[in-house]
Amino acid sequence: MAKSAAIVKPPKKALKKRLWDQRYLFLLMLPALIWVIIICYAPMTGLYMAFTNYRPSQNGYWYDLLNAPFVGFEWFEYFFQNDFKMIMRNTLATSLLTLLFSFPAPILTAVFLNEVKNMRVKKFVQTASYLPYFISWVIASNIFLTFLSGGGVVNNLLMGLHIIDEPVLFFQNGKYFWWIIAFANTWKGMGYNAIIYLAAISGIDQEQYEAAEVDGANRVQKIWHITLPAIRGTICIMLILAVGGILTTGFEQQLLMGNNAILNYSDVLDTYSYRYGLAKGMYSYGTAVGMFKSVVSFILVMCANKITAKLNDTALF
């Protein structure tokens, strides 16, 4: 309370006046605003498709959309009654495993990289770790398919070390698939996400480290008491974003590495709505599944945001 009382507020100008004063800033913002409206919000009108039986015709998109027979929650009901359990199990399992590895991995990478004093080594590790981010999933998937094949590096190594007698057929057992995707997601995004934490770490006042050194703190203590608390805000924001994207567990990787034998483990919300909505032309059903995902993601973001705000005084909005 005392804190807020100490703040001296400038006299409030009339809204009109403030808007006019900042008119050039608003003008600069306008293209971005237009972009958001057209690219992000306008397509949302298509969500109405999920409640209709949309069939394209020659009358134009809007005519078809607005005149399509209204079916209420029929498509949602069909989804919940049929594939919902399996698809959600796969999505959540892949996602949570990914989160388990890919959330702490970039934090650890950034913290450790920060401790490396040799600049050459630091730069090399940094570049090598974020390079996978720029490799397309088509290539990355083929790397995994080759490495994990019956005669691939992994099986040869395991057999060479006499850990296994027969090659493990990684892509024929669905349960392996979740772990493979989690590992692949982590490998691909770890280095890139570490940059965000490195940027946060670089903003820490060096005097804090010097003071800690004077107090006799060792490296681990400096990490624990200075580095990690300093990037706590960033970690929270990244967690909120990660929780929001928990149902977005990947698309290309599942499509490229999966096969029919393990479809009941590899099919996630995105691949499912793609298979039905686009590949099969069932637009309304695909939209319904996609909309379900968006709504759940939105709720998750709001919850994560509320919780972190309560726990840490740090929130996205």
Binding site: L27, P31, I38, R55, L145, F171, N260, A261, Y274, L278
Partner: protein, 560 residues
């Protein structure tokens, strides 16, 4: 002044973006574009007549004054339309053809184009897929029946096929590609000939006598015993492609038992192939190969490239599938192993079955693809003239034999390839096709020999190579016409279509698990589970719809 300029630019940006994204309904309405106030709906005769009278070239024109036609060919991949045949085709038809690349999954692109109604002038789609009916139902395709007077070559070449490719309203909305009866063999056990000679002797290896499945299993076991490793790698007795989206048991295993696309019971009702009395026997055969270690353990990941790579390594005895799938590995093996190290086709029959009652070579007389003009086409006259020329014998000769005088010539009234063009093709098929343009664009193809000199429709196959010779010699009495069963699955945005897709998913998932089961009992358990899942997912409902469509089709074709 600066402020005014900034405001003006911003306003222009807003207006430009909005107008580009919004579009006006009138502009996107082809009926309005054609100057007709009526909608060109599928079965609306008045609208059709109005559209027919409007057929003209009002669309985009190229720099040289020729009308521009945009063409989506699902098979074109990354090919470009700039080879000698392409240039000659544009010259002869007087159009500039802009090829729309399929980029990625062509089926997805066709769906997206339909949803956004931004399809090009001509589309080439998979005829067996439900996408054709979706386009027709959306009114996206021009009713060609009303323009038959402008398509004399089409009428002459297609003949009875036009009757069979009519939509339920009796009109033709597309033309088939690869139409006509085609007795070309398809599926078999494609075995390395040098190893066959080694294991069964020259005489048996060259004989056209089919093998029974048990004989083939014994042979594969012999191979594994004699050659546990080849070139330092574990030998592989047989290899198949990764499972596709169809339940055809890789063609070969359904064909061995004489199964067709659907199982038709005594009442004439259609059922999914899984209900065929011998479906489980065929699955057991596949499972036997897997359990005995005679099938590549990682077959479920074998895409086309991986398959070719494995077959080219020299440690695989046989491939089970289409005889043309092995052409690339054959070329590699002849170079790396020996001249006789070629995969050649053998017929394998299920134990106790008639060798002349197989269905190994299912082909649709109505073709693989459907080619249609869309209602977005503004240069309709040019498009009609273009397809009529392509479908004509002269057009077909240009597309499939190349330039007369350069690639082929008439010798004593018989079409004869010039120089070593066929040898070049046999040594390097893909580059020869790309360089010459011959068979690079396979459109409106008729599966028939030339009526005047009895030569084949494609220059490359006028003289059969060894793999074709063996296929024709060994895979006999295996042809059947799949046309009557094509495209019966419910389509589009309907609960029935959803059910049908769900059924296909259940079969697709169970299939590899049945094949890869550790025991026969496990295989049967997966089958039982699949059947109960299918029943729960509404198999009977979908089968009833397909039966109804099938009977309606038979009536339309006058085959009842």
């Amino acid at each position: 002044m600066k402020k005014k300029l900034a405001l003006l630019l911003t306003a222009a940006l807003v207006a430009g973006t909005l107008s580009a994204c919004g579009g006006s309904p009138a502009a996107s309405d082809p009926a309005a574009e054609n100057g007709s106030s009526e909608q060109t709906d599928g079965g609306n005769e008045t609208a059709d007549a109005a559209a027919a009278s409007d057929a003209s070239n009002e669309g985009e024109v190229a720099e040289d004054g020729t009308p521009v036609i945009t063409f989506f060919d699902k098979n074109s991949g990354t090919r470009t339309f700039d080879d000698p045949v392409a240039l000659e085709l544009m010259k002869r038809t007087g159009v500039t053809l802009n090829l729309v690349s399929p980029t990625g999954n062509p089926g997805e692109k066709l769906s997206l184009m339909l949803a956004g109604q931004d399809y090009p002038d001509i589309v080439l789609m998979d005829r067996g897929s439900d996408i054709v009916n979706q386009y027709i139902e959306a009114g996206a395709l021009v009713n060609l029946s009303q323009y038959m007077d402008k398509l004399p070559n089409v009428v002459e070449m297609y003949g009875e096929t036009l009757n069979k490719t009519r939509y339920t309203d009796g009109n033709n909305y597309y033309l088939s590609n690869w139409y006509g009866y085609d007795p070309d063999p398809v599926n078999g056990f494609i075995m390395r000939h040098d190893l066959m000679v080694d294991l069964v002797g020259q005489e048996r290896a060259d004989s056209d006598e089919p093998f029974t499945f048990s004989e083939m299993v014994d042979l594969l076991k012999q191979f594994k015993e004699k050659y546990p490793t080849i070139n330092g790698a574990d030998s592989i007795a047989t290899l198949i492609n990764q499972p596709g989206s169809s339940d055809n048991l890789h063609g070969c295993f359904a064909g061995m038992y004489g199964m067709k696309t659907y199982y038709v019971d005594d009442n004439g009702d259609l059922h999914y192939r899984v209900s065929h009395p011998e479906y489980l026997d065929a699955i057991h055969d596949m499972n036997t190969l897997y359990r005995e270690g005679l099938l590549d353990k990682e077959w479920t990941s074998n895409n086309g490239e991986l398959r070719n790579q494995k077959l080219s390594q020299g440690n695989v005895f046989g491939y089970i599938g289409s005889y043309w799938d092995v052409w690339t590995p054959n070329a590699a093996l002849i170079q790396s192993e020996n001249e006789d190290a070629e995969f050649l086709a053998y017929k394998v029959v299920a134990d106790g079955h008639d060798a002349d009652a197989t269905t190994l070579s299912g082909r649709s007389s109505l073709g693989w693809d459907a080619i249609a003009i869309t209602t977005n086409c503004k240069n309709l006259d040019a498009a009609l003239a273009f397809i009529d020329y392509c479908a004509s014998q002269e057009g077909q000769d240009l597309l499939l034999w190349g330039l007369e005088g350069q690639d082929w010539e008439f010798v004593d009234g018989v079409r004869t390839p010039i120089g070593d063009i066929v040898e070049r093709y046999q040594a390097d098929p893909s580059n020869t096709v790309n360089d010459t343009g011959i068979t690079k664009w396979t459109w409106f193809v008729k599966n028939d020999r030339h009526p005047d000199d009895n030569t084949t429709c494609r220059i490359w196959f006028n003289e059969q190579d060894r793999s074709a010779q063996y296929a024709y010699q060994n895979l006999t009495n295996a042809y059947w016409d799949t046309a009557e069963f094509d495209g019966l699955v419910p389509t589009g945005n309907s609960p029935d279509a959803l059910k049908a897709q769900k059924l296909q998913d259940i079969i697709n998932q169970a299939y590899p698990n049945m094949v890869n089961a550790a025991t026969v009992e496990e295989c049967d358990a997966v089958y039982e589970q699949m059947m109960s899942d299918l029943e729960a997912a509404g198999m009977a409902d979908v089968e009833a719809i397909m039966t109804e469509s099938y009977k309606a089709r038979m009536e339309l074709w006058g085959m009842n």
